[in-house]
Symmetry: C3
Subunit: 421 residues, 3 copies
């Protein structure tokens, strides 16, 4: 049993299964989580897929509310503030790279070093005193496994792997990338929905489950003891921070009942569980039990043995702004066999991961996140929500994330109020 698990459980258990009055008055210990509407600052985030940015290409993206120009010059990715200090022009609307070292503003020819962001020259005024005196913010960039990661913050960035769930960056990890898309929901609801043990019920509507005849459940549940037993934290100084739940001890309910007024009850069974023998039911459950689900700082989920036993599913809920997040999803296998790797990046990954997981399963998660947004954004949901026991795994995450966040993004950051070198 992990001490961290016990500690977090103790600290947050009092916030679930509470009568309304008490919960409403209680001050939440995860204030950092509540404050992080725009994201956690000083972390690495996926910003684009490598394949969407060829040599010489550039594009404007929005990350935690900040508008950023990303470009690939001589193979290297550069990320720069997309706002000319002169008059605020977005470079990305007419990008000019007259050299591989520089970005020129299309309005007044201010020309910036794309490595350090400094104003190197002004084509029309090479003697201007401004030269060398102002600069764009330059964002640290790492390109790994077909993904462009950008560090949004003010501090010296820690190594990338501190902010990526374990395994993703392994040498023998083969990463199949799905095209990211935007979701009208705050990013925190992405994290919470992804790990939420109770949310599995929504996948009764998922095409993957329906087509596979895969009965899910009315929602995973675990006892407090199981949570203590199956949750494993990683808080290494020199590595990623997060935790995993081993699914093995989870209770899967395929049956439920509703008490009726006349004293009887209505028994329910999940449609796809009907007509199956206990052995058949256990067989599928056994496969799911092999997996682990984990949440990782700053904003990602890792699910092992999903949807196929040898595949690990990673997803990132990247804050775009306070009302949208960009959903990055990756299907990963680990292999040293080059042929297998090549097949995975082609037909295998598509058939064994992208079609079932991305097209057939996580679209329902996206729907759920959007459905929660209004309540949390406009109706004080963070204060008014009424949590039940399975949510303790989320309050533990909120507490954990509040403890490990390197900073909080603000609206001012999104407007360009931050340090430049």
């Amino acid at each position: 049993m992990s001490d961290v698990t016990k500690e977090l459980l103790d600290e947050t258990q009092g916030y679930v299964e509470q009568a309304k009055a008490k919960a409403a008055k209680a001050k939440k210990p995860w204030q950092t989580w509540l404050d992080a509407e725009w994201g956690f600052r000083n972390h690495w985030y996926p910003a684009s897929l490598s394949r969407d940015l060829g040599e010489g290409d550039s594009k404007g993206i929005e990350l935690l509310g900040e508008e950023i120009l990303v470009t690939r010059q001589e193979g290297k990715i550069r990320a720069l503030e997309d706002r000319c200090p002169h008059r605020g022009i977005r470079f990305s609307s007419r990008p000019l790279f007259y050299t591989k070292e520089t970005l020129t503003c299309w309005y007044h020819t201010w020309t910036f070093d794309i490595e350090d962001g400094n104003l190197r020259t002004i084509l029309s005024s090479p003697d201007s005193k401004m030269i060398g005196k102002c600069s764009l913010k330059v964002y640290p960039v790492e390109e790994r496994k077909g993904v462009i990661f950008i560090f949004v913050g003010d501090i010296e960035p820690p190594p990338l792997h501190y902010d990526v769930a374990p395994g993703f960056l392994d040498d023998n990890a083969v990463v199949y990338c799905a095209e990211p898309y935007d979701i009208n929901s705050n990013w925190r609801l992405g994290c919470e929905n992804g790990y939420d043990p109770g949310h599995q019920f929504i996948h009764n509507w998922s095409e993957m489950c329906i087509n596979a005849g895969m009965h899910t459940s009315y929602g995973y549940t675990s006892t407090k003891e199981d949570v203590l037993d199956t949750t494993r934290y990683v808080e290494l100084e020199d590595g990623p921070k997060g935790f995993t739940r081993k699914v093995e001890k989870t209770t899967f309910r395929h049956e439920a009942s509703i008490p009726l007024k006349d004293g009887s009850k209505k028994d329910l069974m999940l449609p796809l569980a009907r007509g199956k023998s206990k052995e058949e039911l256990d067989q599928l459950t056994a496969i799911i039990r092999l997996g682990t689900v984990g949440l990782w700082m700053p904003a990602s989920l890792k699910v092992t043995t999903f949807p196929a036993p040898h595949c690990t599913h990673y997803e990132f809920y990247v804050p775009k702004n306070k009302d949208e997040h960009t959903y990055f999803q990756f299907g990963v296998i680990h292999t040293d066999d080059e042929e297998e790797a090549e097949r995975w990046l082609g037909e295998d990954g598509r058939i064994m991961w992208e079609v079932p997981a991305v097209q057939g399963f996580t679209v329902d998660d996206a729907f759920a996140r959007e459905q929660m947004h209004k309540y949390y954004a406009e109706e004080d949901g963070w204060q008014r929500e009424r949590l039940f026991q399975p949510d303790v795994e989320l309050t533990m995450w909120r507490q954990f994330a509040s403890r490990h966040a390197r900073g909080i993004q603000t609206e001012d950051h999104s407007r360009g109020y931050f340090k430049r070198d």
Copy 2:
């Protein structure tokens, strides 16, 4: 002469026909009306037509800013807060009625009693301590005459007929329902336009009038004495509150003139009045004179002998939110003859009421209400309007409504801040 009429006239007469300076400074005695941007709380409102909600159907509606799930289960209509206390999900986006007694949230299987709103069970966690400890708001419902009425408020609801204009609920009332639609205007402008004696001029553009060759007028007007004489109040403790104007003494002007600078004047005559003899003109006016027009708490209008002598037109300006109201319209006859009733609900009602009144007449009222909205919503219209004598009938309504309103809806109510049982 009604004492109430005199009292209201005396109290509000000073607010019309005033020079600007005075009107601007004067504090209005109908503050409750000014505060009721979101509607009057603690009243009954039409929420849907019965025919639009068959057995087992459900839908989400918005009433005074509150999102409500309405459903029919075993023939009975239930109306529930459309917001799960757990995480704010709108049930209506994936409604689940596993029993006729319950509503289950599609996200985490919280299952509520649709009669009292209590959390009866959680399918995935039947032992949760939350069960029995939280609840949805349940809205009182009455279904009468093909209309689903919902009570929005916190008090013990008075009988439905207190909030419906007389005659509508009569045993022998046969109610033809038009499909309701939303109008981009505050609901109070609906009330005021509907009763407004001066507004009749806009119906010169109405297809019903044009096609029938029915000259309207440049606006009804009545003297103060006529108002005193023809307005009849109903303030029964145990019945509806409202009043009617008997049209009989109203002055209809078909002619008007505009004084010109050169001292002459330009004489005008309504196009449809031209070429008609005085007898022909009087003939039509005489029909209109038979009618009465009435405003009723909380937000409806009743017009007798319209558009046909035996038909009564009812309309409700139901607040959807502060910027929209839903327009319900009904054509009613009173008869004990079953065949006549059946014909009315079929072809007769359509031809004798819906096509002329709804399609050919009140669309112009809807236009006028939308045209007033910006002024009242964004330009302080309620304070800056300059009223003239015919508007005294509206200030009397404002005063009357302020006196009889059972409460005021607020934006907080729309966000779910209200008492639950």
Copy 3:
């Protein structure tokens, strides 16, 4: 050398070419310019083209946020507040001119004198006490050269020609009018982009330049001495206020270079300048040097010899509201030859001015203005911008405009809070 030039230069020179810290702290001396988000009040503005308002026509327009009904009655243009004092109706949604002297509200027949705005009668209530007691704001109007000008303000309007750049109203000026269009940008960015010496670089993308093989430059620049030498102010008590820059001394750069890290430099040449001899380059530059560019109160630009030697280009950045301006453009020649004038208003103006200048050139200016808007509207651009030497010509304008503005428009004006006669 003009004293005004020196004075304005001295007053504002300290705000360009400054290190960030200093610029950020410095209080700007052109506060009036910063306050004028909605426009300068008490000035004349183009409101419509004459040809778009035939006899008896009317339309609603928005000028500095004020909604105005413009109509032509008996040949004369009238401009009236488009808001009935009774209940705020916009007359323009159903305009009624029962006489050539009056405007009648379509809702309650309030009938206003279109010359003085007074309530002359109410068709339905000719005895109302309101008659003569309330009025619409009436806007002074001048129709000249095919343009309807409206004065927005509260003071006795000065003569129109005080607010129009010289030459436009000359007896022998022949004015070809382009159809105005709206641009999603604050009007001040229009003024600044138009005069901005550095902005010429954007016209490398202009179809006119590309098709004509006309190399532009990396941005005009002038030394401080040249600015002193070539800027000519007009501040006559009884005429327009503005100034012109004679282009003659401007430096045109067709070549530029970017210093590289390895100590070398990358030489650049504008695509259209390549392969041309010095003579050929100078030949074109010489034509441009003939011109002058001027900014004029309240919000317009005059460019001589553009795009053809005998043509003068005028443009107005008319504030529609704080986020949009209406772009009026005119191509003007001066001639006493009636045939030439007629040809100009027909095919000549279209081919020699409208197609190249409006369709092929200023569309790029419109693009640039829109691109600046977010920075100035939402990101404190007016405080955070980092100006370089060529911008001193803009700070001089800001200072000059702040000195000569007759007033500042506010949001309250746009809601109808202003004096009526």
